[in-house]
């Protein structure tokens, strides 16, 4: 009755609060599978709804990173891999990881359904979709400034666009690298670099993420943005005054999945990879992407048909092999 009640109460409270907070830290019952992905946050949210329905017993934890950051992270964690799975990462960024000994070959169930050219013969990676480079143009902003809509790569060099073009930084963004590869493919290496140097004069900012330029164009922050297909499309559908322009010689990239060597829960990881090329997954991808790697699954009704786009012939193997050299060169020339 005459105990020091105040203190005791405080101590009890503190212990209780600590306990509750710690309890929250304890791992949930479901098997965790850690996924690194370069897909857009909005896509991931949609796909995960499907995944959680199909794999209710897995605790799927996704970390969204831009392509460059993702590669850096995986390399940094080489001794102690944190991720089990790569999901939707540019092929050009994934292929170099094979040589680093970071990936484990695994052919997911049903891999035979995927077109042969979109999967690694040794099973290190499996492609799921294509995404396509695109220019987003804010028509209102251009009209306000009485400027024409750019249609071709060369149009972008118009000195009137100085400070009005934005593009992703290839060092961090897969989309940025896609565009650089497209330019180098279209113009050849030597002229390509020259072109990029001239384009650099018009660039207002190199963003870290590939989706950001589309958004900034949609919101009227900048009239012209190098971005990718569905980022621009989704804004157009939402009613923003933004137009999609395919430049003459449009670049594209294959997005692939892979298993990390030394994954902590390899079984769960494999089940996720199996799901990630299942029909359900492919149908979900197709609602966003212009092309998926499973024949027969067609893109959604509001997505333009892939054959209408003036696609370049991109050599992923070449781009992957020379990725580091291209990035180093770009960094040397254009880092601000």
């Amino acid at each position: 009755m005459k105990k020091d009640r105040g203190l005791r109460r405080v101590v009890v409270w503190l212990v209780a609060v600590c306990g509750v907070l710690l309890a929250g830290l304890a791992a949930p019952a479901a098997t965790p599978v850690v996924v690194y992905s370069a897909l857009e946050n909005d896509e991931i949210a949609e796909y995960l709804k499907v995944a959680r329905q199909d794999l209710p017993d897995l605790d799927i934890r996704v970390l969204r990173l831009s392509t460059g950051e993702l590669a850096a992270r995986v390399l940094a964690e080489k001794g102690n891999p944190q991720a089990d799975v790569l999901w939707g990462v540019a092929a050009t960024a994934t292929i170099p990881l094979v040589r680093e000994g970071i990936l484990e070959p695994y052919a997911p169930k049903g891999a035979y359904k995927i077109l042969r050219q979109f999967r690694d013969p040794k099973g290190y990676w499996t492609g799921i979709d294509l995404y396509v480079g695109a220019i987003a143009v804010n028509t209102v902003e251009l009209t306000k400034r009485r400027l024409p809509v750019p249609r071709t790569w060369n149009d972008l060099l118009n000195p009137q666009y100085k400070g009005l073009v934005i593009m992703p930084n290839p060092l961090t963004s897969g989309t940025g690298f896609l565009h650089v590869v497209a330019v180098l493919t279209k113009f050849g290496e030597q002229r390509g670099w020259q072109y990029l140097a001239e384009l650099d004069r018009n660039i207002a900012q190199y963003t870290r993420s590939g989706g950001a330029p589309a958004r900034m164009a949609a919101q009227g922050e900048i009239p012209i943005a190098l971005s990718f297909d569905f980022a621009v499309l989704s804004f157009k559908q939402q009613g923003f005054p933004v137009e999609l322009v395919w430049p003459d010689g449009t670049g594209y990239e294959l997005e692939v999945n892979a298993l990390i060597k030394g994954a902590r829960s390899p079984d769960a990881a494999k089940r996720f990879l199996d799901w990630a090329i299942s029909l359900n997954a492919m149908r979900a991808y197709a609602r966003w992407k212009m092309g998926v790697t499973m024949p027969g699954v067609t893109a959604g009704p509001h997505v333009p048909q892939l054959h209408t786009v003036p696609l370049l012939k991109v050599d992923f193997q070449w781009a992957a092999e020379h990725r580091q050299r291209i990035l180093d060169e770009w960094k040397r020339r254009f880092t601000r």
Binding site: V17, L21, T172, G211, Q219
Partner: protein
């Protein structure tokens, strides 16, 4: 009468029982080990990496750093924005503090509160607000003035930093200015001094140390800040963000280590100078003083009022803009009201906020407890190694967050301690980064406690542990809770260290805001920031009302 034996050999006198000495040594050992592992080891890991090249000591990374002009430029950039922000912040904060302490201006307590408001907001929040005001689609720049000018770059960083650092400088300067005794002014005036002369003769000499301390404090804050430049810096590269770019953009870990060392130099120097001048300033403070205040007349009154209320209005405008931006469809384009931005499926608002509360709350309790224990061990038990322990407890405040993050990434991603990818490492980074202020607060509180209270307990037979638990800790309750609130707030708003440490399923509010920003979803970022500031404000308010805890900052 009993003659004591003449040459009795007795053991060395002790102030504590054998058991107390044992527990003290073990506690000190454990604390020293903990600080060595979570403060020193990551730093040494960085320094080691910066010198290590393929298994041997080498200066090559440094040579590379110096030879790469764009890289070296970041040092210059950092110094430029830090100096500019420092001058601007200190001038503004001095004026504000002067008006608050030396005039009878109406609504001073309100002005004081608004002036301190940015303390509970992450540094990038003001940067976001500035983007909505002065960005490419800014309310002021585009909508009102129709300009193409935008805030990204050095200008944006400086503006954002002035906002972010203003309350920190204000606290230091206010304390100093309010300690100026009225009799000094009256003496000067009775000697015939007027106006500016009084200012130069009385005010300036008394507060010069506080001004110096505030300057170095602000410099330290700016040069180490990550949130503002990453959001509003555009392509303008500074040291704090360069570490991040080197790691995640370029995968150059050794270079990131070199940049970290380059950042440590100005950070540690300004931190040390801040402390030096703060001690000097404290020495000039008199215990009791009668505040000096007058009612300026005419133009002076108008200017003082316009200045103070102008700044307060600007602060409110920035936060108001942020809240407004989270509620309209497209800022500057489509002003339809909507709650859509608060439905952030891709981020998972509720989980992220709850996780932030949980980890910060845990860090707050652990950190506050650690602070009080360290203060007791250092100031009262004083075992061998106490000074070292104190130094280690103060050091973290000097180390930039990005450097801590990189150090943790290096140090705890390999045996013997593999912690990267767990929530634990995030909590540990919070605890050991913000333990400094807690320790200082607990030390100050402990110095207020009459030592004979502990001695009374001791002479009644209480052990060191019992004395701590039953006597000292209850007396330091206020310090404990105010440290806990401080650590909580700082943990909620910090971005720099955890950006290196977040793992899947462990995204935090601050990192989610950054993700949204880099994705270009500024309205979503505004929504989450608004929620974050509201939640922190609520917690601070509850702490003040329920626990009656004064909230302290540095």
């Amino acid at each position: 009468m009993s003659a004591p034996p003449a040459a009795l050999q007795v053991p060395v006198p002790r102030r504590w029982t054998a058991r107390d000495l044992w527990t003290t040594r073990v506690t000190t050992g454990v604390l020293l080990l903990a600080f060595a592992v979570f403060v020193l080891y990551p730093l040494l890991e960085i320094v080691a990496r910066s010198f290590w090249k393929s298994g041997a000591f080498s200066w090559e990374h440094y040579a590379e750093f110096l030879q790469e002009p764009k890289l070296f430029q970041t040092v210059w950039n950092s110094l430029v924005v830090s100096s500019l922000s420092t001058v601007l912040t200190v001038v503004l904060a001095f004026g504000y503090a002067y008006v608050l302490t030396h005039t009878h201006l109406w609504g001073r307590s309100f002005l004081w509160m608004v002036g301190l408001l940015p303390l509970i907001a992450p540094s990038f929040v003001q940067a976001l607000g500035l983007i909505f005001l002065f960005g490419r689609n800014g309310l002021v720049t585009r909508t009102l003035l129709g300009l193409d000018w935008n805030v990204y770059g050095a200008v944006g960083i400086v503006l954002g930093e002035v906002f972010y650092c203003f309350p920190h400088a204000l606290l230091v300067l206010y304390t100093s200015l309010s300690a100026l005794d009225a009799s000094l002014y009256e003496a000067a005036q009775s000697l015939g001094a007027r106006g500016w002369r009084v200012f130069w003769w009385v005010t300036v000499p008394t507060v010069r140390y506080a001004v110096a301390a505030a300057s170095f404090l602000v410099f330290n804050l700016v040069v180490t800040d990550f949130g503002t430049p990453v959001v509003v810096g555009g392509d303008y590269r500074v040291l704090a963000t360069e570490i991040y770019t080197q790691v995640f953009g370029l995968q150059r870990f050794s270079m990131a280590a070199v940049v970290s060392v380059a950042l440590l130099v100005p950070a540690l120097a300004s931190f040390g100078l801040d402390g030096y001048f703060r001690r000097k300033a404290a020495a000039t403070l008199t215990g009791q003083s009668r505040p000096y205040a007058y009612s300026p007349r005419g133009w002076g009154r108008l200017a003082a009022g316009a200045f103070a209320w102008g700044w307060a209005a600007f602060v409110l405008l920035v936060y108001g803009t942020l809240a407004a931006a989270s509620l309209v469809r497209v800022w500057g384009y489509d002003w339809t009201l909507t709650l859509a931005h608060y439905r952030l499926d891709a981020v998972g608002v509720r989980e992220v906020l709850l996780r932030g509360l949980q980890l910060s709350g845990l860090a707050a309790l652990c950190g506050a407890l650690l602070s009080v224990v360290v203060a007791y061990v250092v100031h009262r038990l004083r075992p061998p190694g106490a000074r070292l322990l104190y130094a280690l407890a103060v050091l973290p405040a000097a180390v930039p967050g990005t450097v801590v993050g990189l150090g943790y990434l290096f140090a705890f991603n390999k045996p013997p301690l593999v912690l990267v990818g767990t929530a634990g490492i995030i909590v540990l980074s919070y605890v050991f980064r913000f333990v400094t202020l807690g320790t200082l607060a607990a030390s100050a509180a402990l110095q207020q406690v009459d030592r004979s209270v502990e001695e009374a307990a001791q002479s009644l037979g209480a052990s060191a542990v019992r004395t701590f638990v039953q006597v000292v800790f209850p007396l330091l309750r206020v310090a404990f809770f105010s440290s806990a609130v401080y650590i909580f707030v700082r943990s909620m708003v910090t971005l720099s260290a955890v950006i290196f440490l977040i793992a899947p399923g462990l995204e935090l509010p601050a990192t989610a805001v950054l993700t949204l920003t880099t994705d270009g979803k500024l309205s979503g970022a505004a929504a989450l920031s608004t929620l974050l500031v509201a939640v922190i404000g609520l917690v601070v308010a509850v702490a003040r009302v329920v626990l009656r805890v004064p909230v302290v900052f540095r």
